[in-house]
Amino acid sequence: MEEIIAPLLDEIIRALDTTKTAIDHDTIRKELVTLLEYKVPPDEAKRSLLKKYATNDIQEKKSLADIQGGERNIEITARILNINLKVVGIKGEEHTIFIGTMADETGARSFTSWEDFGINEGDILKITNCYVRIWQGMPQINFGPRSTVDRLDPKTIDPLPIKKLNIPIPLVELETGTSFIHTIFRIIEVEQQKINTKNGPKTIIKGIGADSSAKLPFTSWILDPELVIDNTVEIKNAHVRSWQGIPTINIDEFTTIHRSKTVLSAYDISEVLDPVPVRLNCIVNKDGAFDVIVEGSIISIRPWSGLIKRCPKCNRVIRKNTCRIHGHVKGIDDLRIKSILDDGTGVLTIILDSNLTQKIIDISIEKAVTMASTNMNSSFLEEEIKRKLLGRTMQLRGNMTRGEYGITLVATDAQLIEIDTITKACTLIQEMQHSIREEESL
């Protein structure tokens, strides 16, 4: 028993010390023993005692790269990279808040301060009682009246390395959830879009940027004359958030946009524009992939492929004309294929919409409806799809996302691949024979 109690007690006392709580070791020890005798798990016992005796919340030190969203009572030490004042309406009243970006040695994140702490750019701060919330798809540090902000002397503490923030990073390395990014890309698609926001209609710019490593969509909340097609722009202090599962560069009023001194020519980005198939093991560990080409074998056709019905109100797939949200509805006929693509190195679910399904199985939706009614069976088409596709090699293009239902690629194009097995076999035999000789000559 003692070997469990001693270290646990130690942890509890150390944690309580940090909150400057006056404590009586014997009382805590006695209560800890009681809890353990009641067969409460050690972690739960610790939590219970901290809750009971701590006058302040226990602070957990966190690095910026480790925050996920939803944490409370955390302590952050970071350098303020930039800070801006913003007036927002909260419950009908005007309120001044401060938003900006902070960085520690692990990374940079955006923050919101709900109080005026007199923070300046370049300050190194220790902030307690922070909480993390997900704002526009990114974890963001929040602090306010309950927090304490201590200014650390920049001389006594190691200057937090922010050098790498000054070097533009290639698009392929941008990760969802990072702030204060600096990158250079060429604009290959761009258009203005009118959207409705809380504050009325707003015009934004949506587009696609590319460098020699990747291409990514971007959204700009400001109209900047440099954001035009074929321009190479240098973007500082933008952030990357997930938009429909795809990392997207977000440009806002605090981002600086310049025409880049290094110009990316059409040739520099040509490989990215005309992508070659990637192996599945290269993408299935990522959060999402934008406009990729994959190739593999169709090893399984999932249920609810073929002729399906959708709810006319919410577009959900329904059965027996009953939507789980809208009850009894008259379903709309639709075609789709949901299947498993596996290339032996990775696996994902692929989804083909009505148009692609018609192209691949060469059956129109009208014909499918007629076939289903003459066969008195709507799963007839699912069987037909299995017969035509199982085992076949398919190449698809589209966006890959990771979600509740696993890794999914929604296809924007799909085709079945015919392979000249004789030629391929010859080449491979030669390569293999060559490798034997090479091995012998060593």
Binding site: I299, I340, G344, V347, R392, T421, C426, Q433
Partner: protein, 288 residues
């Protein structure tokens, strides 16, 4: 959310010479069969020919079947928990082309004697085109694994560095893990890999038409081509200090014995098409 396990491609020859089955973590975590080339198989995908189906007249309905590829045969067991596969097996014509997605299983009747088998999840009748493509894919992926294992065998790195290097060379995280395990577990791997390559080459040869004689054999035959070709071929050997010969150097040296630059280019072209030399990098030549 639990992610779906990839379906590995291995030939029966390799599957049946695997005997490293392991399980880590709690009871819900998956089992893996690690093959000599480091495939870490929980699930696999096979396309082959059913050559045998038996109804094992045991207490419960259980079918045992053999599905063969050019290198050997996989054993498949399907019972009451695989009703669709069992029904299909019960009425199967022998032989027929079929594809199987399933889980790797092992049976160890006595210490050191391990039998591998497959418990099917999905089983479909298919055709020879799809089988041929499977042989090609499986050969390709197996060969890649073999090359990675060879790299691993030649390295002296610790586990973590080795995994990082293998991933750098294109291995998936699972394969890097599998290879790191395989090279520790299996003995005499170098010899095994040589055997496996020969087995795979023979499997690939089944894809070629019977009257088809690829230039593969020609590679070893000598005393062909012109005198100039032979001189250039000999020069390549003399000048090669282990990293190939620069084309410019070859032209220089040939110039001393009265062979023009055009002749050198012509000879190099001939030697390449005969499969006697290749160009590992641009303007670098090497004898095969």
């Amino acid at each position: 959310m639990i992610e779906r396990e990839v379906a590995w491609r291995v030939f029966a020859y390799e599957f049946n010479s695997s005997n490293y089955f392991f399980h880590e973590g709690d009871e819900r975590s998956p089992n893996y069969l690690v093959t000599p080339t480091g495939a870490m198989i929980n699930r696999l995908y096979i396309v082959g020919v059913f050559t045998e189906v038996d109804n094992l007249q045991s207490e419960e309905e259980m079918f045992k079947a053999r599905i063969s590829d050019p290198t050997g045969a996989f054993t498949i067991y399907a019972g009451q928990y695989q009703p669709e596969a069992a029904i299909l097996l019960s009425g199967l014509d022998i032989p027929s082309f079929a594809s199987v997605t399933g889980k790797a299983r092992t049976y160890e009747p006595e210490k050191g004697k391990i039998y591998t088998s497959v418990r099917p999840e999905e089983l479909y009748i298919t055709n020879s085109n799809i089988r041929d493509k499977w042989i090609l894919d499986t050969a390709h992926l197996s060969f890649e694994r073999i090359q990675l294992v060879r790299r691993a065998l030649h390295s002296t790195m610790n586990d973590e560095d080795l995994k990082a290097m293998l991933i750098q060379y294109g291995a998936s995280v699972e394969l890097a893990d599998g290879i790191t395990r395989a090279i520790k577990y299996y003995s005499d791997l170098d010899k095994y890999l040589d055997e496996l390559i020969t087995v795979i080459i023979n499997a690939l040869k089944t894809l070629l038409p019977e009257d088809f004689h690829p230039d593969i054999e020609k590679k070893t035959s000598k005393n062909e081509g012109s005198d100039t070709d032979r001189i250039i071929y000999e020069l390549m050997k003399q000048l090669d200090k282990g990293k190939g010969v620069q084309l410019a150097q070859l032209v220089d040296e040939s110039g001393h014995i009265g062979i023009t630059e055009e002749q050198v280019h012509e000879s190099v072209k001939n030697l390449m098409s005969e499969g006697k030399c290749y160009e590992p990098r641009i303007d670098i030549l090497r004898r095969v």
